[in-house]
Amino acid sequence: MTIYTLTHILDASAQRYPDHPAMRCNGASMSYAQWHRRAGALAAALVEQGVRPGDRVGIYLNKSLETAVAIYGIWMAGAAYVPLDPLAPAARLIFALNDCGVRHLVTQNNKAAAVRELAGQSPLKHVIGIVQDQLPVPLQGLTWTEVNSAGGPMPKLRVTEQDLAYVMYTSGSTGTPKGLMHTHHSGLSYAQLSADLYDLRHEDILSNHSPLHFDMSTFDYFSGPLRGATTVIIPEAVTKLPASMSKLVQDERITVWYSVTTAIVQMVLRGALDKRDFSALRWLNYGGEPFPPAHLRSFMQRFPNVRVSNVYGPAEVNQCTFYHVDAPPDDDESIPIGEVWANSEGIVLGDDDQPVADGEIGELAVRTPTMMRGYWGRPDLNAKAFYLRSAYEHYQDSFYRTGDLMKRDSLGRLRFFGRKDRQVKTRGYRVELDEVENALGSQPEVGECAVYAVPDGEGSSLIEAAVIAKRDAVIDEAVLKAALAGRLPAYALPHAIRLMDDFPRTGTGKIDRRALRDLALSAPAKAEVS
């Protein structure tokens, strides 16, 4: 069959490998045929509830087989999925539900209390996964058992590769998250390019480390299934304990691992790797942050048969470059970002928006079929996000501006030199410092504040803040942190808040955040010392 939408991935693999295990999680398993049938039943239920092509349907699930059923079931109904962070505070979820108009939610019974908080504050009308009597009046519920035992007739839908497939929210510098719009075309292009590049095979067993609301999960839910492989969904709890994570790699006989760098560094440092058998593992892909060369060397020396690759690409483009690390790094020079992948072009732009000469630093912009269509409902951001290069009269090529500063080295490989703006990565999570600063600055007792990233000593960084109280106001750190926890995801919360009478300033009177960071490194704030 011809595969031109993401939905076809499951149609094709269910036809070709019906009895092969497609997804495993926490001891439970689902074959491609079972997955296809369950997704079809969900689609029928969603259509019955009124979902129409183009609608956005929320997924609010912990790591489970249902996540996979939800994605493909929503697509079969012609809708786009909106993955919600199962651990985010209610205010953040309510924002996303309102922002892209989510009326239908796919969830699980133990989320009933959290879902009740969303009712009335969002357009939510229908909930799948929660029994009706657990829901307040405006919400209509349907349990998974009811979904699986139903399965009405499906209307003939005309979904094309140009249609919306998912809207993924990420930190926004103006204080609210922004929704990336990916189409079947961009998602499927990613699945095909990555499956080719990493030579995915039917026999492969993939790790799913990333939760659904992070773009890396698309490799495990799109690319693996495209080749009829097996994906092992790693429960949240396991991802937090490196020795449990490494044991899972061993016991599940994972062949292709893909995660944020932090997770692998933690396995190197605390994963009891000397006690683990990774003989099935053939490829380890990391992304999101640079890999400290010393830790990479240690991993590669222990597992010489595992191929290691650096993956790069903001969620806006899924992925756009690759670098295969051929040998353990013999010095501490950073690992290259590498080269732009197939069917794509990268240019490095200077401050004048013109391509720089090779060897000069500038912002990387890429055009690739894996690129998002834009940010949901944000013409302001969309006007700035793309670089348009005149191709023919009245016709322009569109490049995504990554915001990442790069240069090409003498071998033509891209190398990373930091951010153009105040976006940071903290242990694998992408956070706009301005969003945190916004949240902190809007607290009534805060006069002035600064939020900055401090190196964590393991190759990533932690977010910290410095605060000056308003005149006559008293700052209680616990109260402040609790207020922030109501607005921001846990990973974006400052690990330490330093109370100060004044900040170090630059000559022009601006807050000197570099000095604050240095202060944090030389004299950790109280909360850091446990």
Binding site: P235, A237, V238, K240, L241, P242, A263, R270, A478
Partner: protein, 79 residues
């Protein structure tokens, strides 16, 4: 010991959030404790009990809840 672990998690790892922590609660699943929190918790236990916890023991079975941690430590102290 149970009290000490409990108060450390509440004060240091929950960062002052108003969360009632029960001894059987899933610390790691709930998002109450992240991977960095797990590292700090283990360092704290090692400091205060003067014992070393081998990396291979830092697994779900031993650290999923306050109950599990207490049971693991008791078994380790008598071993």
């Amino acid at each position: 010991m149970r009290e000490a672990i409990h108060s450390f998690i509440q004060a240091e790892l929950l960062m002052g959030q108003n969360v009632a922590l029960a001894d059987g609660d899933e610390l790691l699943l709930s998002g109450l404790v992240d991977s960095l929190g797990a590292v700090r918790l283990i360092a704290h236990i090692e400091d205060h009990l003067g014992m070393r916890i081998p990396p291979e023991d830092v697994v779900i079975e031993n650290f999923q809840s306050v109950d599990a941690i207490v049971a693991y430590l008791a078994q380790r102290q008598t071993a």
